[in-house]
């Protein structure tokens, strides 16, 4: 698809806004003891919609933006995984800290599924955080406004 700055901005903004609002809603429902059978399809639908919007957004980017985005995601993800490893090893070997971390996030006596969610969430959040920082650094790097 041809490059379109307006459509790229709209789709990216839509994906981020929907992702943040949807995650807040799902988190709120899960924290208020909503039926997991009701929340699970909502999570799947939200995930698919956000990914769909994200892919649509990428189709409106030009080739250089795609090339740079892929590079940032690749290195950001690798660094994100490497950066979270010490915390993962620490939590594996210090169970009271793990219990505290899981209960701090899920606000109730932790269930086995909460530990699983925490385990999945931790590296993904770390990857996303590093990619976000890399994007900001890329935008603020010398020469990016010349």
């Amino acid at each position: 698809m041809a490059y379109s700055a307006k459509k790229l901005r709209t789709m990216t903004g839509g994906a981020i806004a929907l992702g943040v609002a949807g995650m807040a809603l799902v988190f709120w429902l899960a924290s208020n003891h909503a039926d997991p059978v009701f929340v699970a399809p909502l999570r799947v639908a939200l995930g698919l919609t956000v990914v769909g919007l994200g892919l649509r957004a990428v189709s409106y980017a030009d080739e250089v933006q795609r090339q740079r985005g892929q590079k940032l995601w690749f290195w950001g993800s690798l660094i994100g995984i490497a950066a979270i490893m010490p915390a993962v090893v620490f939590l594996q070997t210090h169970k009271p800290w793990l219990d505290t971390a899981v209960q701090f996030i899920f606000h109730h006596p932790a269930m086995p599924r909460d530990y699983f969610s925490f385990g999945v969430m931790l590296p993904v959040m770390s990857q996303c955080a590093v990619v976000l920082v890399a994007r900001l650094m890329d935008k603020l790097s010398p020469g990016s406004r010349s």
Partner: protein, 64 residues
């Protein structure tokens, strides 16, 4: 890959935004190519060269 895009653009008196509009790419992409942070594909490289009325090798230099 080195290129003469900044010089050629200056000769024409175009801003990065103007060049980006002519190539239908983002201004940031023009900037990334000029600074060697990104290499254009062959089709985009040919579009750039054609825009300046030059051969591709007159704009881009792969001998670093």
């Amino acid at each position: 890959m080195k290129n003469r895009l900044r010089v050629l653009r200056a000769e024409k008196g175009w801003s990065q935004a103007e060049l980006a509009e002519r190539l239908n790419i983002a201004r940031q992409s023009v900037n990334a190519i000029e600074n060697g942070k990104a290499d254009p594909s062959l089709p985009l490289g040919m579009r750039i060269a054609r825009l300046f009325g030059l051969a591709v090798e007159a704009v881009f230099d792969d001998e670093v």
